[in-house]
Symmetry: C2
Subunit: 101 residues, 2 copies
């Protein structure tokens, strides 16, 4: 299946590929951090432990509407994930790789 | 073509879908902010104007390895793009929607 997908992509005109990218993104589930944590069956306490902070700090973090990219990356890593920063343009998408990994 | 892609996705088992997501991400171009700006044929000066800051501040921003999500979003918007924050897990991807839009 994976191969078929790659072949499909390879055979696409650039415009179709951009369209597919948009479509693909639209299919992604969207959720806030606290829901993502619950989906991973993790408590604020266990995440606090992994991040070496206290539970109140995790709670506060989950209510923020802005934060440093490094803070968000640490939070997502503590859940076992990886953060990706994508810039979407009408003609396609680019992954931004400026930030410390 | 777009419809075919959607149909392909709809018919996928969850594991194949996750695999396709990973593959898809691997196909994304990766670049730092200053290269993305150049690819959009924008100068630091024009971006500075759009952001209501000076050229030196844009130059400094492009050399940072960490910044606020809102700062990055403003930079990408000034280029005509949209920022997306994705968390990638072994079993799939989620778009994080905590941050002010």
């Amino acid at each position: 299946m994976a191969k078929k997908f790659a072949e499909l992509q390879a055979g696409m005109a650039p415009e179709s590929r951009a369209e597919a990218q948009q479509l693909f993104q639209q299919h992604l589930k969207e959720m806030p951090l606290h829901e993502l944590r619950k989906a991973q069956q993790l408590s604020q306490e266990s995440l606090a432990k992994a991040l070496n902070i206290n539970q109140a700090a995790v709670s506060k973090m989950e209510r923020r509407t802005d934060m440093y990219i490094s803070t968000l990356r640490n939070y997502i890593r503590a859940m076992g994930g990886e953060l990706e920063i994508i810039a979407t343009f009408p003609d396609g998408q680019v992954k931004i790789d400026n930030f410390a990994y």
